[in-house]
Each structure stands twice: as C-alpha cells, then as structure tokens.
C-alpha cells in the first residue's frame, strides 16, 4: 500500500465511523481504526497494522488531525500500554489472544502499567528482588513494586521478576504480564510532591501468573525489559511537535501577559534566559525530528537517550523560568496540597505553570534518571569505558543491597 492509498483508507475510516458523533466515541472509533490496520501501520495485518514502514504512521495521524475535531492522543488514552507495552506484546506475546489484547490496549478499554521499580531497585533495575517461583503451569510471585504509575486503574502490568537468584543479576530475570485483578495483588496510592497520587505501591503476595503470560523465555527478562525501556525513553524524549509549542509556549505567553514590575536589569536578564530556553527547546524539537527520521529507516537505538536527558533538563528549566516570570505571585499555590488521586490539569496557564514547576521535579528521575541517561550516552553512544563493576559476574544473592 502506498502513501496515497493509506491516506484514502484513513479518510474512509473517518467517513464511516464518526469520531465527532455525540457521546463517547473513543472505543468504537479506535476499535475501527485498529480493525483497519491504522492503529500501528507497521504491525502485521490483523494486529492493528498493515505491515507498512513505521514512518507511514504520520500519514494516518495527519489525516486524523485534519479530518476530525476529536483527536484521541495515544499517550493520553493508554500511555504505558501504547507507549511501551504494544511493541513488547507484539514481539514476545503468545499468538493466542494477542489480537484482543492489542485491540483493547489501543482502545483504552484495558489500561497498562509498568511494574519494574522496587524500593531497593530503581536505577539498578536488574538488581530487583521480587521472586517468581515455578509451580506447575503457574509462577507464584512475592515482592513489592513501587512508583507504579496508573496501577490503580490498570488491567495489566508489565512486570519483571527474579526467577533464579543464583545466577548473575541480569541472567536470573523473567518478564510477565500480570493481571492486576489477580488475587494477592494489592495497590496502595503513593503521594507525591503535589499531594496527588499518580503512582502507587504494589504488593504481591502469592500471586499466581500462568506460564502463558510470560513474555519471552525464562531468563530473558532483561532483554525484554531493555526493549521496553527503549520505547519509554523515546516516548519521553520527543520534544514539542510544532515550532514554539509545548512548555516554551506557556513561558512565552506568561512573559507577554503577566504584569510584573521588574527593574530594567531584571527584565533584560529574564529576556535573555527566555531566549536561550527558546533556542534549546527548538533544538530539542529538531533533534527529535532527526532521531525519528533515523528510527523510521532503522531500529530504536540509543539516540532516544539524547532526547530524554535534554527534554528532562530543558523542561525543568522552562518551568522554573515560568515561576520566575510570575514573580511574587508564585508564593501563592491555588491548587492546595490536599492528598488526592490522579493528576491536576488547569486551562489557566498561570496555575498550570505553578503546578508543573512541582511536577517537573520528576522529569529527571522518572523513566531513568538523568545520571543514568548520561552514563548510557557516555558508554553506549560515545564508547567510553564503563565504571568498574562490583555486581556483574557474581550470583545476584551475593550482591549488597540497601
């Protein structure tokens, strides 16, 4: 299928299933999009795709943007499922039931979460301690996961557990998809700097996972986890989609509209700082476009990590600058800090900026810290030698943990 045929196919979808019809059209519309192979065009036919080159997905997105008022952002519908899970399920899931799993993921009927981090294993993911022990056709899991975004509304979790503690840490891991409603799974909200709980602690007590829900083979968990993280870091490192869009747009808007009395010196300083951030945000966007072009003709590689570290640091700096543009008004925090679940959004850019100043503190932590990202850039991209490792070739159970 060529580009214009794909365009036609998308238009036909829009004509036959109206996303702007009254009522919530998300599930019927996205279901039809999946059935016609327009969910992920690079996926095989029957699994939401048409077996086309990945870069052709932009043709579909472009038509959807143009042809419908209602546009469902994949990353809002099911961020972890679509952002990280889909490729993993496609590559490593059982054939049986795969279509339904991907379809419900794409429509958002089933939300996914990522059960990787543990209290004692964050950056050092491969050091994790959750144990999975084989019992007949099942695996029995015990342990604790933490920082699990969306766990409280998820149907499925992508989970890594230790199946063999006698092997070196990377070799004893296996990867599962966990039914979050299974007996023994307990989800407790974990509150953050804003007073909200976007993430959770997940306790696993004798939870049974059938062997058929293992993704990849026993002992291959690290390989599958890395594939998942590469997708995450690409998803987190994209930059704004249009020139001057995203966070920098909020900064410019505030700079234009907020009335504040500043000395000429302060004004000049702020202006220079904003101009510098504008350049960086624009270069982040352009670098994202270059990385995408490389990806379209290749496979996902470490270039995703350039975007992730830059996005995190520039994002933080922009929201800090927004607060500084607000001046003394930033002493007031209208949202308040009541503990609650979910995350705040505000159409008012002044309020949005105050909230995001706090929320952005995690940009350089979530999805891999900036320190770890820089290690990856240094070692995998630049080929610098790694630090001496004390935990590489010893059995996991002998490694020191806090």
């Amino acid at each position: 299928m060529n580009e214009s045929e794909l365009r036609e196919r998308t238009r036909a979808l829009l004509k036959e299933v109206n996303p702007d019809a009254k009522g919530d059209q998300r599930i019927p519309f996205r279901g039809a999009q999946f059935d016609r192979g327009l969910a992920w065009v690079s996926f095989p036919e029957g699994l939401g795709g048409l077996g086309l080159a990945p870069k052709l997905q932009t043709v579909v997105q472009d038509e959807l943007h143009k042809g419908a008022k209602t546009y469902y952002e994949d990353m809002l519908v099911n961020p972890i499922g679509i952002g990280m899970g889909a490729a993993v399920v496609l590559a490593y899931g059982r054939e049986e039931g795969k279509r339904e799993l991907l379809r419900r993921m794409f429509t958002g009927e089933e939300i996914w979460c990522q059960l990787f981090s543990e209290p004692s294993a964050g950056s050092d993911l491969a050091g994790l301690a959750t144990r999975a022990v084989r019992d007949g056709d099942d695996w029995v899991l015990n342990g604790q996961k933490t920082w699990t975004t969306l766990a409280h509304i998820s149907k499925w979790g992508l989970l890594v557990a230790r199946t063999n503690p006698d092997l070196p840490k990377h070799d004893g891991l296996s990867y599962f998809m966990l039914d979050m409603q299974a007996p023994g799974v307990e989800v407790r909200p974990l509150y953050q700097i804003t007073g909200e709980a976007e993430f959770n602690e997940v306790f696993l007590n004798d939870v049974r996972i059938p062997q058929k829900h293992m993704l990849g083979e026993e002992g291959q968990g690290w390989k599958v986890a890395i594939a998942t993280l590469m997708n995450e870091r690409v998803a987190l490192g994209g930059g704004a989609s249009k020139k001057g869009g995203g966070p920098i747009a909020v900064l410019l808007e505030l700079f234009e509209n907020v009335e504040a009395k500043r000395s000429p010196a302060e004004e000049a300083l702020l202006r220079d700082r904003i101009a510098k951030l504008y350049i960086e945000a624009e270069l982040l966007r352009l670098t994202g476009i270059r990385a995408k072009a490389a990806r379209d003709s290749n496979v996902v590689g470490p270039e995703g990590s350039v975007g992730k570290v830059a996005q995190a640091e520039i994002g933080k700096a922009i929201w800090e600058c927004c607060a500084d543009v607000l001046g003394p008004d930033a002493l007031v925090y209208e949202h308040g800090y009541e503990l609650r679940q979910g995350s705040t959004s505000s159409p008012n850019s002044r309020l949005h900026a105050k909230y995001t100043l706090l929320r952005s503190r995690a940009y350089s932590i979530e999805g891999g810290t900036s320190e770890i990202m820089r290690n990856i850039l240094g070692e995998r991209v630049l080929g610098l030698p790694g630090e001496p490792r004390v935990d590489k070739d010893v059995p996991w159970k002998e490694i020191r943990r806090s």
């Binding site: 700097i193 302060e266 930033a330």
Partner: protein, 373 residues
C-alpha cells in the same frame, strides 16, 4: 570580632536546637502546615517564656532580651533547619524591628512588651502587588479623618497576616511613608489567607475600606524601614542557611546508605561531586550570613551590602541544594512522605520573599556603584 562566637552563643544554639528538635520535628511540622492556624500557640508561648527568643531583639527597656543580629542569626538558622512553623520572621523580626526603629515611643511602650512576652503577634503589612518589596513603590495613602486616619486599598503577601493581632501598615501621608496601627477587628478590614506555595509559612492579603487607623510614627520613614527590612533579610538568609545545611546532611546520609549496583550511590562520582558542590555552597552561605550578622552588630555602615549579598547568595544556594537533594533521592525525593519537598518549597518561597537573588544583586551593585562613571 568577625566570626568570633562566644560561649554564650554556643549555649544559645544548643538550647534552641534541643528545643526545636523536640518541639518541631517533622511530624509536628506536617501537622502544623495542614492546620488552620499554621502554628502552635503553646509552643510560641514556651519560646517566649522558657527560651526568651520571641523578644530576642526587643530592647530591654521594652521587655526584651535586647540582643543583636548575631544571636538572631543563630536562632533563625536553627528555625530554618527544622522548618519551624511560627510567626517569628513576621512578628519577632520584621514588625519588631520596624517598631524599634520607627515607631513613636508611646506605641513602642504599648506594643513591644506584648510582642516580647508572646501575648501578641504582629505583622508588617507593606507589600502591594505590583512591586511588593520596594518601599518606594508603596502607593497606599492614608486619609486624615478627625484625629486619626482611614486606610483603603490592599496589602498582599503579608506574613502571618491571617493570625496577627497587631497589624502595622505602611502607607503614605503627604507623600511620606508612615506607620499605622489597625485594630484586628477594625471596620472595613478583611483578611484573606492565601494558599501558600510553602505551607510552612503563611501569607495573607489584607483589604482595607475606610478602615480606621492611628498613626504611630512621625517624619518620613524610608531609611528606618530599609534598615528594619535588612534585618529581616539577614534573618531569612540565616533560615536559608539552616535549611540548606540540614538538607545537605540528610542527602549525604542517604548517599552513604542507599545501594544501587552493589555499592552506595555516594561512591558514584557524579553524586559525590554534587555533594561536594553543595558543601561549598553551604560554607559560602554561612560566611555570607555570619558576615551580615556581625556587621549588623559591629559595622552598621556595611550592613546593607552584606544583607543583599547574603540574601542573594543564600537564595540561590538553598534552592540549588533543595533541587539536588530531590534528584539524589531519586523517586523517594519526589514523594509526599519524604521531607525533600518541604525544604524545596521553603527554599523556593524564601527565594521570592523580600526579593529574588537577582533583585538583591542589582541592589548591591547599585550600593557599591558598579559601573558608575
């Protein structure tokens, strides 16, 4: 002599630290920051009676301890360390200094003893939204009414403005700055607690509509007000230092005990160097604060420059340290249950309060005549 602390200073610090470690531990701070009043009146009473620090800088003739900036810096540093939730900066430092420097004797006699004993809490309502920290920008003008005056307009970011029962307002008479006393139940006065970014320090907006006020000063007060604010700025810088020091300690403990990759994260150079940078910042902040405090007591000529230096350096340092601390704690540093965010919010709000780092650098540059030909 610069930086020479006496045995009494050491004793003061130990007493205050022991007291706050018990009375203002993290649990207490969390209780108070989500309480209606935002402070603990019983604890305040004990600070006045047992420790004698509420009237620390109130002169002896008005019932205080009559101590100076060095003692104030010590106490404020300890308060910043524990994020004390109390109207100290507002009442015991800023309002007290303004009354000491600028109020008529009658008003001093009436109000200062009550502040020193903890019986009353005062606030200085001076900031107006457009340009809150600069006295010369104050626009509110008092209207003569019989023997007294009337005030109309709004003051904002008033520290502890919601709980203060001695409200001192700065407004103009014939263009000159003057102090006014407004009863807390005066007609036409409404007070709105503003939801604070830093929940450990409360702020309010005070609105006046033909509110009766009595003038408690004479002459133009610009210089006295500046001097009083410099004191508050030095106290705030000392708080920032105390907070920064505490955050450094917590972070280093974590870096020593948190293991990833089979080793303490503090053994990774990027973490180690980050901690080393934080140490440099804390030590610079300490020099800046103690320099300002000692000049306050011994070399009044140089206080203004020292105060601007301290506030600008400490603002940047504390905020940087609080940010780094979140980062070094990883996911833990982003949680509600960890104290990192409490210090971050205090650091951010303290940076803004009384003017940002670049605001104070600019003022210092002007005082020193940088680039003046």
């Amino acid at each position: 002599m610069l930086f020479e602390f006496s045995d009494e200073h050491g004793e003061l610090r130990r007493t205050v630290r022991d007291f706050f470690e018990k009375e203002s531990d993290e649990n207490r701070v969390r209780e108070l920051m989500s309480s209606e009043q935002g402070f603990d009146p019983t604890c305040w009473g004990r600070m006045a009676e047992e420790l004698g620090i509420v009237g620390l800088i109130v002169s002896e003739e008005h019932g205080g301890a009559g101590l100076g900036m060095v003692e104030l810096a010590i106490v404020a540093e300890e308060m910043g360390r524990v994020l004390l939730c109390a109207p100290y900066l507002s009442s015991a430092v800023l309002a007290t200094s303004v009354l000491e420097f600028a109020a008529d004797e009658a008003a001093q006699k009436e109000i200062l003893p009550k502040l020193a004993s903890g019986e009353a809490i005062a606030t200085l309502a001076f900031s107006e939204a457009a340009n809150p920290w600069d006295f010369s920008a104050i626009a509110m003008t008092a209207e003569p009414k019989g023997d007294a005056f009337q005030l109309s307009g709004e003051k904002t970011y008033v520290l502890d403005g919601q709980i203060a029962n001695e409200i001192i307002v700065v407004a103009r008479v014939d263009g000159s700055l003057a102090l006014f006393r407004v009863a807390d139940d005066a007609s036409g006065l409404s007070r709105e607690a503003l939801p604070p970014f830093d929940p450990t320090r409360r702020i309010a907006a005070l609105r006046f509509k033909n509110t009766p006020a009595s003038r408690i000063s004479s002459g133009d007060l610009c210089c006295q007000l500046e001097c009083a604010l410099d004191r508050a700025i030095i106290a705030l810088a000392a708080e920032q230092l105390g907070g920064a020091q505490r955050v450094l300690e917590t972070t280093i403990d974590f870096a020593k005990t948190r293991f990833q990759f089979g080793r303490p994260i503090g053994s990774f150079q990027v973490i180690k160097h980050g901690c080393a940078d934080m140490l440099v910042e804390v030590e610079f902040a300490r020099s800046a604060v103690y320099n300002a405090a000692f000049s306050g007591d011994e070399d009044p000529q140089s206080v203004a420059v020292a105060a601007q230096m301290a506030k600008s350096y400490c603002s940047d340092a504390y905020l940087d340290i609080a940010n780094r601390s979140i980062q070094i704690h990883g996911g833990m540093g982003f949680t509600w249950e960890h104290s990192a965010h409490l210090y971050y919010k205090r650091a951010k709000a303290s940076e803004i309060l009384f003017g940002t780092a670049s605001y104070h650098r600019e003022r210092m540059a002007a005082l020193l005549g940088f680039g003046a030909r």
